[in-house]
């Protein structure tokens, strides 16, 4: 019983922060300290959950039994452990960064911002530890709705429009595609529970598998598969901490996490391999991967470029799931971590640049590297990790994805991965290169806030640390299918 305590703790901490934050609106220091404290507590319990998982403990509990087949329940899976660690660990960094950003930028309505920030984390943690499709769906929607006030934070016409598109795509796809997919699974198998080897085998005729998978793949709009990717770039009107934690970590990772859970725990990779049900998904994700990299090159707005880069990186993860071998899925789940850390570094850096200079166009960044070297070094390291250069963490996940496609002999996929890496090099490294080597165009005033610079550097360092200490993460991914 005591072991389940950690699940409660990690779920309840952000929820408590959500309820307390509005009460503390009169004392900003106390209110803002809730974020880092909550992050540390949640991360601590996630670490404990991870070590319990590695010891082979089965943790699950039912929060609420609606009737015989429906329940809101939580269960620890390998993927969930990874996503939980990422979301809670980066919450610590992001919450410190957020304080610096919001104060440095003198944003309005800070209490509302922090309130919804915590509830979004709560939803992400609940998604990570959800034990069945119903629970997953519930908190998937909670996450969408709790991030709306953050996206539309500025409350001007642009934010309003962006919020509308954001809600429209995410809620629309989830209602029209994801919900019927879940109900079909419910009708076919009589239950919504996850099982390590899938539940559909023997319950569905083979020719319907690709269609059901399509309902899931396009229903999970948060995974940003084309053509349902538009919400991610428009969501960039939000303050940068939102883009950093939510649109590089919590929200999009919730999407690809759900994708991987569906592929492994509902379909089962053996079943998908048998029926060739996921072959089409390899192509869709490969196309998304290439196209969004190409679009990223054309973007001059720094955050928009990062957004398209995110879309492309998410497709790596979906691709790993679609290849549906043990190694590819391991690579995909490692990529959840690696991309999260790398991309949050980049977004932190982008936010630092904005707070310090109020510049958001890449073409304006010429020569600015000399006045804020630490930020751009961090940006450089983060870029390398995204590209997949050792000794950054990102190299591991790309390596495994490549291995997976070699194993299945998808030679086209390998070449697509290589092309995309080259594109990554081009559109990411252009930014620090311009900042350091081009002559400065205009004299811009640079103001720094220490709470912004240090989390950025720390995140950059983390990408290197993750290259060296990959062992525990690999142990978790080895246990994904429970047979090694």
């Amino acid at each position: 019983m005591a072991n389940e305590f950690y699940i409660y703790l990690s779920i309840l901490t952000p929820l408590i922060a959500f309820f307390i934050t509005p009460l503390l609106s009169s004392s900003p220091n106390l209110r803002d300290s809730l974020g880092p404290i909550g992050g540390i507590v949640t991360f601590y319990s996630s670490l404990n959950i991870a070590s319990l998982y590695l010891d082979g403990e089965m943790l699950n509990f039912t929060f609420f039994q609606i009737n015989e087949t429906l329940s809101i329940s939580f269960k620890i899976t390998g993927l969930g452990v990874i996503f939980g660690l990422v979301a809670s660990g980066l919450w610590i960094l992001a919450s410190i960064y957020t304080i610096g950003y919001m104060r440095g930028n003198k944003e309005k309505n800070q209490t509302r911002f922090f309130t919804f920030y915590s509830i979004a984390i709560f939803a992400a943690i609940c998604i990570a530890y959800s034990g069945n499709l119903l629970t997953l769906f519930i908190f998937y929607e909670v996450l969408t709705f709790s991030t709306y006030p953050l996206v539309a934070h500025k409350q001007n016409d642009e934010a309003k429009k962006a919020g509308r598109l954001y809600m429209g795509i995410l809620v629309g796809t989830s209602i029209v595609f994801l919900l019927p997919a879940i109900i079909i699974v419910w009708v076919l198998t009589g239950s919504l529970d996850f099982s390590p080897n899938g539940v559909l085998k023997g319950n569905i005729s083979n020719e319907y598998v690709p269609f059901l998978l399509a309902l899931f793949a396009f229903g999970i709009g948060k995974a940003a598969l084309m053509p349902f990717h538009r919400w991610l770039p428009v969501a960039m009107v939000a303050p940068t901490p939102v883009s950093a934690l939510l649109h590089a970590v919590a929200v999009v990772k919730a999407g690809v996490f759900s994708m991987l859970v569906v592929i492994t725990h509902v379909f089962g990779i053996d079943f998908l391999t048998e029926t060739n049900g996921a072959v089409w998904l390899i192509w869709v994700s490969s196309i998304t991967l290439l196209l969004s990299s190409c679009i990223a090159i054309t973007k001059d707005d720094l955050k928009a470029r990062l957004a398209y880069s995110t879309i492309s990186q998410l497709s790596y993860i979906v691709l790993g799931g679609a290849i549906a071998t043990n190694i590819a899925v391991q690579g995909a789940s490692l990529h959840i971590v690696m991309h999260a850390v790398g991309k949050i570094t980049l977004f932190f850096a982008a936010g630092s640049i904005y707070v310090a200079t109020h510049l958001s166009k890449i073409s304006d960044l010429n020569g600015i590297g000399k006045s804020m070297p630490l930020t751009f070094i961090a940006f450089f390291i983060g870029s390398l990790s995204i590209i997949g250069v050792p000794p950054m963490g990102g190299s591991w996940s790309k390596f495994y994805l490549m291995l997976g496609s070699v194993e299945k002999e998808y030679l086209v996929v390998i070449s697509i991965l290589c092309i995309s890496t080259l594109l990554n090099v081009y559109y990411l490294l252009e930014i620090p290169a311009k900042a350091f080597f081009q002559p400065q165009k205009t004299n811009t005033q640079v103001t720094k806030h220490p709470l912004i610079v240090y989390p950025t550097l720390f995140a950059a360092m983390l990408t290197i640390v993750l290259f060296i200490y990959i062992e525990p993460l690999k142990n978790i991914t080895n246990l994904l299918f429970g047979n090694q």
Binding site: I66, N67, K160, R164, V176, L179, I183, V187
Partner: protein, 499 residues
């Protein structure tokens, strides 16, 4: 005393509001009239709860009015099916009465307020009577009681907007047409069977075989009730009636009136004609209902998207929601009808909450509640706005609200009997409904540039009913077992009645 009450519960739930409506009519003190009405509806709810316990271990209570046995006398039947709409009417009746006072004193001439309460109780009595009676003609009487008093209530909105008179008139004419159709059907049935008792009719109809008067009677009765239930395209009286009625009347009618008519629709097709189910082949009628329901889903939603008047918008959305309920019935399976019952309950909760919060936000503007006139009000009334958002999300069927449970079961039932195309249509229409819901939420939250600083503050008097119904919207969205189980018990009882 107690055993006397228990024995006479089926009539007490009808007679209590009826008697109090007579008392209230002669009062001069408006506050006292309100207090007495609240007391009457409270008493009715207590009786209903007692009745629930009775039904839970007897499952079928038959009550002879004046101790006259059925074929001649009037019989009241309370069973696992009818207890559901009774519960809806009595709970919503109490909540709406609690809510009503501020609005009636504001929107209606002072001299008429106590009369309004009298009509109000009469409507509730009529609605409950409609559900309990097992006599086809007695049902007509209650149909007239409830709709005539409802028409008068709608017309009372004329102090705020004189269009209420036209709306009431339309409601009167179409309601009368519906009731007449119904009574023609009853007359034909009486002619061939010589009985008015529903159970008796059910036994005698199969023996008649393929009798033309029975077919015609069936058509007349169904059509009449479909007008009352505002099944598309017989819905035209509804939007204006809801929009121009005094605020509390909109709440009461939107949450209960059409629900009761839908219940009668189910009762006619399953209890009276159910035993000859094979002969009259519900199969073809079923498809008519199914297509009408799909049309209603889309037509209601699209009309709501283009509507500016908030109350009318909610009325159009009601038409779409009635479509969902009819859809479940038209599937003619146990899970389909159960999903209809689930949505019957849940939609009552949703619409009551929505109408309450919307009219509360329009309290200070007193004019037509337009999307533009309420811009930015949500910010100044955060608690009412919160209730509105919860109920609106519930209407859209978002998880953790009752609307989600309805949708989950409706889609499951639709998928099981019709395949994937039907759930897809349902979901597209419900995704479309997000457009108007979002229009309202945005409109309430974002400030209009030229909004004049009016004196607007919260109305604490309505917190209890409003927050209670919001709470129910969430509570039954999580602890949904009670509603789901009872709906399945009811639908199984209906289906087994056929065989």
């Amino acid at each position: 005393m107690m055993s006397f009450i228990i024995k006479n519960l089926p009539i007490l739930i009808v007679i209590t509001p009826l008697m109090f409506s007579l008392i209230v009519a002669v009062l001069n003190n408006n506050r006292l009239a309100w207090a007495l009405s609240t007391f009457a509806t409270f008493l009715t709810m207590i009786f209903t709860i007692l009745l629930c316990f009775e039904v839970s271990y007897k499952s079928n209570i038959s009550y002879y009015l004046g101790n006259w046995p059925p074929p001649l006398g009037i019989e009241y039947v309370i069973d696992t099916i009818s207890i559901i709409p009774i519960m809806i009417v009595s709970v919503i009746g109490l909540i709406a009465t609690l809510f009503a006072h501020n609005f009636f004193t504001l929107e209606i001439d002072e001299k008429l307020v106590s009369k309004t309460y009298s009509l109000w109780l009469l409507t509730i009595a009529g609605l409950i009577g409609l559900i309990t009676t097992a006599d086809a003609f007695n049902l007509f009487v209650f149909l007239e009681i409830s709709s005539l008093s409802a028409v008068a209530l709608v017309a009372l909105g004329s102090k705020v907007d004189r269009k209420a008179l036209v709306a009431g008139y339309n409601y009167l004419i179409l309601g009368a047409v519906g009731a007449t159709f119904y009574v023609i059907g009853v007359g034909l049935l009486y002619g061939v069977t010589g009985t008015l008792n529903m159970g008796d009719l059910a036994q005698k109809i199969p023996a008649l075989g393929l009798n033309k008067s029975v077919i015609v009677a069936f058509a007349f009765m169904m059509l009449g009730i479909m007008v009352k239930a505002a099944v598309f395209p017989l819905h035209i009286w509804l939007p204006n009636a809801y929009a121009y009625a005094p605020s509390p009347v909109s709440v009461l009618l939107a949450a209960t009136a059409t629900k009761v008519s839908i219940y009668i629709l189910v009762r006619i097709s399953y209890t009276i004609f159910g035993s000859s189910y094979e002969i009259y082949s519900f199969e073809s009628l079923r498809y008519i209902l199914l297509y009408l329901a799909i049309l209603a889903m889309f037509a209601g939603t699209i009309m709501a998207i283009f509507e500016k008047d908030v109350k009318k918008l909610l009325a159009h959305s009601s038409i779409a929601q009635i479509g969902y309920i009819i859809l479940g019935i038209s599937l003619a399976t146990s899970s389909g009808i159960a999903s209809s019952f689930i949505h019957l309950i849940n939609h009552a909760l949703i619409k009551a909450g929505l109408f309450m919060s919307v009219v509360a936000m329009g309290y200070y503007t007193l004019k037509r509640i337009d999307v533009n006139t309420i811009a930015g009000i949500g910010r100044r009334l955060p608690i009412t706005f919160f209730a509105f958002v919860i109920c609106a999300l519930s209407l859209a069927g978002l998880p953790l609200t009752v609307g989600f449970i309805s949708k989950l079961y409706l889609i499951k039932a639709a998928y099981m009997s019709e395949g994937i195309w039907l759930p897809f249509l349902i979901l597209v229409s419900s995704a479309l409904s997000l457009i108007y819901i979002w229009k309202l939420i945005e409109g309430l939250w974002y400030n209009q540039k030229n909004s004049k600083p009016e004196k607007i503050k919260e109305l604490p008097e309505i917190y209890i009913p409003l927050l209670f119904i919001t709470f129910l919207n969430i509570y039954f969205g999580i602890d949904a077992g009670l509603i789901i189980d009872n709906s399945f018990i009811a639908s199984d009882a209906l289906i087994s009645g056929i065989k």
